[in-house]
Symmetry: C2
Subunit: 204 residues, 2 copies
DNA sequence: CCTAAAGTCACCCGATCGAGTGACCGATAT
DNA sequence: ATATCGGTCACTCGATCGGGTGACTTTAGG
């Protein structure tokens, strides 16, 4: 399954503890560790772990803030909060912001295993394969020929004017198709449109 | 193999003739037809045929000009020029511009078959799989962590300022990483950078 | 029959981008 | 010992982008 986990806690002891426990689980392929919320935000896009275990209380950016920012930049991130026990308020806030669950730091290996299984199972409700996960929700949008041609031009680094020249259209017309394309894909700019184009297999 | 061919000739009779002949070849999956150079340029990005058969002499945009424009926008296109026999000058010009070969319009089915086999075989010298073909030449560039993070942000539709906020960097710093990223990928803007990101598997 | 969708083109406007340049720092390589 | 590379930040400038709006036409659908 190549399941990877990113553990974040300011205490090296806790990180090592989780790393060791997680390594004993057969479904976990790789475990990496971070010591701060900032580090999590920096590493997430590089490692793209399947699950992030995030301590609630940390110096600097707390786990709740880190969860919030992580969710806003990566809505598909799977986050499980770690708590010592008494910060119920922070946990519930993080869960409202998108964390999938919580767990006490002093869990047994058995509890850890069942929690991870549960979280990964709920992941399995999603399309499943990596690459499917990044797809925006809902059914694939239907693009017109023009929209596909414009998207294709964008992916080749062409400006709207250049695309117009290639397709024998005015730049303004290209912009109209581009605007409709963005709406259909839910993209905010051409870079994101190209990304969605690949994820929906409009581009190769 | 799902090999597809796009035939372009201003004469419907010639188009139909090639369509029929090509259909008898087992390695050809699908044949589509166009009646002008403009149509070829418009349809290519939509159909992405494996081979384009292009008549040299056509009203409006000639086959040579069409080949030139097609190659400039799609360097990986495989083009075979079709000639009645006397336009050697145009054929050689098209070949210099990127066409893979030429063929007389009155070829027998056997000659057609051997030419297609040859062209498809020389295609096989390339990486092979669709999706590999679109990769820029050379070895995959080595991106730094920052460059990957910036690329990731771009694929999510973030502006440079937003990426800066996510990574705790100034917008100017993000722009510097973006510029270096473009250089390494050979991209002219963020949309193309994202496209290359997917093709090099930096993005998913 | 009329509406909706797609295609075409135009004008305005503020935000963003990308190029170019220069600079300082630390680590690594030569 | 010095050069290179990656990371950081700043400033300028012209080009491009994306939003908003409106309008005309054709085709398809209800």
């Amino acid at each position: 399954m190549t399941t990877t986990v990113l553990v974040c806690d300011d205490s090296p002891a806790v990180r090592e503890s989780f790393r060791k426990s997680l390594s004993t689980l057969s479904e976990i392929e790789r475990v990496t560790a971070a010591g701060s919320g900032e580090e999590v935000l920096a590493r997430y896009p590089l490692e793209r772990p399947d699950v992030v275990l995030l301590d609630v209380q940390m110096p600097g950016m707390g786990g709740v803030e880190a969860a919030k920012r992580l969710v806003s930049s990566h809505p598909d991130a799977t986050i499980v909060m770690l708590t010592m026990g008494e910060d119920v308020d922070g946990v519930s806030e993080a869960i409202e912001d998108g964390a999938r669950g919580y767990m006490a730091k002093n869990v047994s290996v058995e509890e850890l295993a069942s929690t991870m299984t549960l979280v990964l199972a709920s992941n399995a409700e999603l399309p499943g394969q990596r690459g499917e996960i990044n797809r925006p929700g809902g059914r694939p949008p239907v693009l017109t020929e023009r929209e596909q041609q414009v998207l294709d031009g964008m992916s080749r680094g062409r400006s709207n004017a250049e695309i117009g020249r290639e397709l024998f259209l005015s730049e303004d017309t290209v912009k109209t198709h581009a605007r409709r394309l963005f709406r259909k894909l839910g993209a905010s700019d051409r870079a994101q449109a190209v990304a969605f184009g690949f994820r929906w297999s409009f581009l190769r």
